[in-house]
C-alpha cells in the first residue's frame, strides 16, 4: 500500500466512527468534510488492483479501480455530502454515523476486486442500513427494520453460498463477468438481485424505507439498490434473464406506486421502477446499454435523493406523508415544492434534465439491438414514470386540494442540499459530457436530436393529459397494498397458527392415548404387585415425571413452531 492512495471507503467508515464519538460543530465539520475527502480519494484510485491483503489464505483485492467503479463511488460520495448537509441538524447521531458507515460500505463494494471483500462490505451495508431504518424510532420502524434485516441476511446467505460454490468450481473469486449458467452463478445472481429489489422479494424496499426518518430515507434510497446495479454491471453484463427481470420491475413499480397513498412509499416503489430500467440495460448488455445503466444510476441517485429530500421536508414540517392528508403546500413551501418538481421532472426524463440525457441511452440501446418489445415497454414505462412520480408526487403533496396546513418552508441546510441536487439535475441535463466521459465505454451519444425531443415531449405531455383526465380514477384511499411481504408478515403467522392447532390437537389425542396406555400399565402392574404399596406409589411418581417430560417436549415443540 502506497501512502498516496487512501481507501475511499475507509475514510467514510473512520468518519462514521468519529461522528458517533463527537457532538456539535466538530461533528458537523466531519459530516461535511469526510465525503469531500472521500470524493478526492475516489479520483486517486488508479485502474487495476492497487491494494491487496492476505485473508484466510486468499489474497483479497480491497481496491480495484475502473471507470465504472469510480463512477459509482463518485456519486456515492456526492450523495453522502448532500445527505450529510441535509441531515446534520435534525438526524440523530446514531443515524448519521450508521448512514456514513453504510455509505462507506457501498464504496467498499464499488472497489472490491474479489468476491470475499465484496461480500464483507455487502454485509456491512446490510447491518448499517438496518440501523438507519431502526433510527426511524417508531415501533413500525423497528418491526420494518427486523423484516428488512431478515430479507437481507437471507440474500447474504444465498450470495455466500454462491461465492463458496464458485470458489470450489473455479478456484477463483475474482470479480469478473459471468453468465448465470450453473448453481454457483445463479446463487450469486439471486443474492445480488435481492438487494436490487428484484421480484419476488422486491417488497422489502417499499416496506422498510418509508418507515425510516425523513433524513434516513434519503441515504437509504441511494446505496443498497445502486450497489447491486454496479454488482450486476461487473458480474452479469448481458445476462439475458435481466431484461425480463428489469422490465417486470419497471412495470411493477408503476402499478404499486399508482395504488399507493403514502408519498414516500410512492417514491420507494419508483426506486424499484427506476432500477428496473437499469437492470434491463444491463441485460441488453451492449456498450451503449451498459453505459446507459451506469449513467442512469448516477442521475437516478441524485434526483431520487432530491425527491425524498422534498418529501422529507414535508414530513419533517407537518409530520404527515400520506397524500390524503397533504395538499396545497406550495403556498408556504415554495422552495421545497420547486425542488421537488425539479426532481420529478428529472425522474420523468423531461428534456433539459438528467433523466433525459441518461435514460434515453437505454432505450436507444434497445432500438439499436432491434428489441421492439423491450423498446415499447420501456417507452410505456417512461410515460408511466411521469404519471406515478413526475406528476402524482408533486400534485398530491403540493397542489391537489388545500389541506389547510401552512407549514414553514425547509430549514436552510435542507434547502441548500435540495438546491445543490436540483442544480446537478439540470447541469447533467444540459451538459452531460463530463458524465459521459466517466462512463465504462467511450460514447458519442447525443440525447438532443430533434426527433428524440419531439418523441419524448409528446410522450410525456400526453401522459400528463391522461393524468389530469383520469384523476377521478386515482382518488387516494387510506389503504396499503398486498405484496409478497404478506408471506412473511401474515402468511407465516397463518401457517404457524395452523401448525400449532394441528400439533396441539394431535398432542391431545396422543396424550389421551398415552394416558390410557399408562393407566393400563399401572393397573397391570398394580394387579401384579398390588399388595406392595411402596412400589405402587413409586410408579405414580414415575408417571408424573414422564408426564412432565412429555409436557416439556410438547411445550418446546409448540414454542419453537410458533
Amino acid at each position: 500500500m502506497t501512502i498516496d492512495m487512501v481507501p475511499p471507503g475507509l475514510i467514510m467508515i473512520v468518519a462514521a466512527l468519529l461522528i458517533a464519538l463527537t457532538r456539535g460543530t466538530v461533528r458537523t465539520a466531519i459530516v461535511l468534510a469526510a465525503p469531500l475527502l472521500t470524493l478526492w480519494a475516489v479520483f486517486q484510485v488508479p485502474d487495476g488492483v492497487s491494494l491487496s491483503a492476505p485473508f484466510l489464505g486468499y489474497n483479497i483485492e480491497l481496491i480495484e479501480g475502473s471507470s465504472v467503479r469510480r463512477l459509482f463511488a463518485t456519486v456515492f460520495s456526492i450523495m453522502a455530502f448532500a445527505g450529510g448537509l441535509y441531515s446534520f441538524r435534525t438526524a440523530r447521531g446514531v443515524e448519521l454515523a450508521a448512514a456514513f458507515a453504510y455509505a462507506g460500505g457501498s464504496i467498499g463494494v464499488a472497489f472490491s476486486g474479489d468476491l470475499i471483500s465484496f461480500f464483507l462490505f455487502w454485509e456491512w451495508m446490510a447491518i448499517f442500513s438496518t440501523i438507519v431504518i431502526l433510527s426511524g424510532g417508531s415501533a413500525a420502524a423497528r418491526a420494518a427494520a427486523f423484516r428488512y434485516a431478515l430479507v437481507h441476511f437471507l440474500g447474504g446467505v444465498i450470495l455466500m453460498v454462491g461465492i463458496a460454490a464458485l470458489y470450489v468450481q473455479t478456484g477463483s473469486v475474482d470479480v469478473a463477468a459471468m453468465k448465470a449458467t450453473d448453481f454457483a452463478s445463479w446463487m450469486v445472481l439471486i443474492g445480488i438481485l435481492i438487494n436490487a429489489a428484484a421480484p419476488p422479494l422486491s417488497s422489502w424496499l417499499p416496506d422498510a424505507y418509508p418507515e425510516s426518518s425523513p433524513t434516513g430515507m434519503v441515504f437509504l434510497s441511494a446505496y443498497t439498490t445502486k450497489t447491486a446495479v454496479l454488482a450486476l454491471i461487473l458480474l452479469f453484463p448481458g445476462e439475458k434473464v435481466l431484461v425480463f427481470v428489469g422490465l417486470y420491475m419497471a412495470v411493477y413499480g408503476i402499478m404499486y406506486a399508482l395504488l399507493e397513498n403514502d408519498a414516500r412509499r410512492i417514491l420507494a416503489y419508483s426506486i424499484v421502477n427506476q432500477v428496473g430500467f437499469m437492470v434491463t440495460g444491463i441485460g441488453i448488455g451492449t456498450e451503449m446499454a451498459i453505459n446507459g445503466a451506469a449513467a442512469h444510476a448516477f442521475a437516478h441517485i441524485i434526483y431520487k435523493a432530491l425527491l425524498l429530500m422534498s418529501a422529507g421536508v414535508v414530513l419533517h414540517r407537518t409530520g404527515k406523508s400520506r397524500c390524503t392528508d397533504l395538499g396545497g403546500l406550495f403556498r408556504t413551501m415554495p422552495i421545497t415544492a420547486f425542488c421537488g418538481i425539479i426532481g420529478a421532472l428529472a425522474i420523468s426524463g423531461v428534456p433539459l434534465t438528467s433523466g433525459f440525457t441518461t435514460k434515453t441511452m437505454i432505450s436507444e440501446a434497445a432500438a439499436l439491438e432491434h428489441l421492439p418489445v423491450v423498446w415499447f415497454i420501456l417507452a410505456a414505462a417512461s410515460a408511466g414514470v411521469f404519471l406515478h412520480a413526475g406528476i402524482k408526487f408533486p400534485w398530491f403533496v403540493f397542489f391537489q386540494k388545500d389541506s389547510g396546513m401552512r407549514p414553514k418552508d425547509a430549514p436552510w441546510n435542507m434547502g441548500l442540499a435540495m438546491a445543490l441536487l436540483s442544480a446537478l439535475c439540470i447541469l447533467l441535463g444540459v451538459y452531460p459530457e463530463p458524465l459521459y466521459a466517466m462512463l465504462p465505454y467511450p460514447t458519442d451519444f447525443h440525447a438532443y436530436k430533434g426527433y428524440k425531443l419531439v418523441f419524448y415531449l409528446q410522450l410525456l405531455l400526453f401522459s400528463g393529459l391522461a393524468f389530469f383526465l383520469l384523476l377521478p380514477l386515482m382518488r387516494r384511499t387510506r389503504t396499503v397494498c398486498l405484496d409478497t411481504d404478506w408471506i412473511y408478515r401474515k402468511g407465516g403467522k397463518a401457517v404457524g397458527g395452523a401448525l400449532t392447532r394441528v400439533i396441539s390437537s394431535g398432542y391431545q389425542g396422543a396424550s389421551a392415548a398415552v394416558q390410557g396406555f399408562l393407566g393400563k400399565g399401572q393397573a397391570t402392574i398394580s394387579g401384579l404387585v398390588g399388595h406392595e404399596r411402596r412400589l405402587g406409589s413409586s410408579w405414580a411418581i414415575g408417571t408424573s415425571v414422564l408426564w412432565v417430560l412429555v409436557l416439556l417436549v410438547g411445550y418446546a415443540v409448540i414454542y419453537t413452531l410458533r
Binding site: I254, A380, F468, R478
Partner: protein, 88 residues
C-alpha cells in the same frame, strides 16, 4: 389543475383561481398541439416503423397511461387493504 377546491379554507391564491386554471389548460392544450405539429419540422426517424408516425408518441403515451391507470384500478380491488391490515 382540474380538481375543484374542496379544502376547509378555500383561499384566493392566484394559482388556484378558476380563471388561472382555465389559462393553464389553454396553454397546456396549445403545448400538446405544438409537440405534434413540431414533428413535421424535424428529420423523420423510426426504429420500428410505427414509432415514426405522426403523433405516435402522443397516442402511445396517452393510451399506455390510461391502460396503466385502469389496470392499477382493477388490481386495487384485489390488493388494497385498510391501513391497519398488518397491525396486531
Amino acid at each position: 389543475m382540474t380538481e375543484k377546491q374542496s379544502g376547509p379554507a378555500p383561499d384566493n391564491h392566484w394559482l388556484v383561481r378558476p380563471s388561472t386554471i382555465r389559462i393553464l389548460w389553454i396553454l397546456f392544450i396549445a403545448m400538446l398541439a405544438a409537440t405534434v405539429v413540431a414533428q413535421l419540422f424535424v428529420e423523420p426517424h423510426a426504429s420500428f416503423g410505427i414509432d415514426g408516425w405522426l403523433g405516435f408518441a402522443a397516442i402511445f403515451g396517452f393510451s399506455s397511461c390510461a391502460l396503466m391507470v385502469v389496470v392499477a384500478k382493477l388490481l386495487g380491488y384485489i390488493l388494497k387493504r385498510p391501513e391497519g391490515h398488518y397491525d396486531d
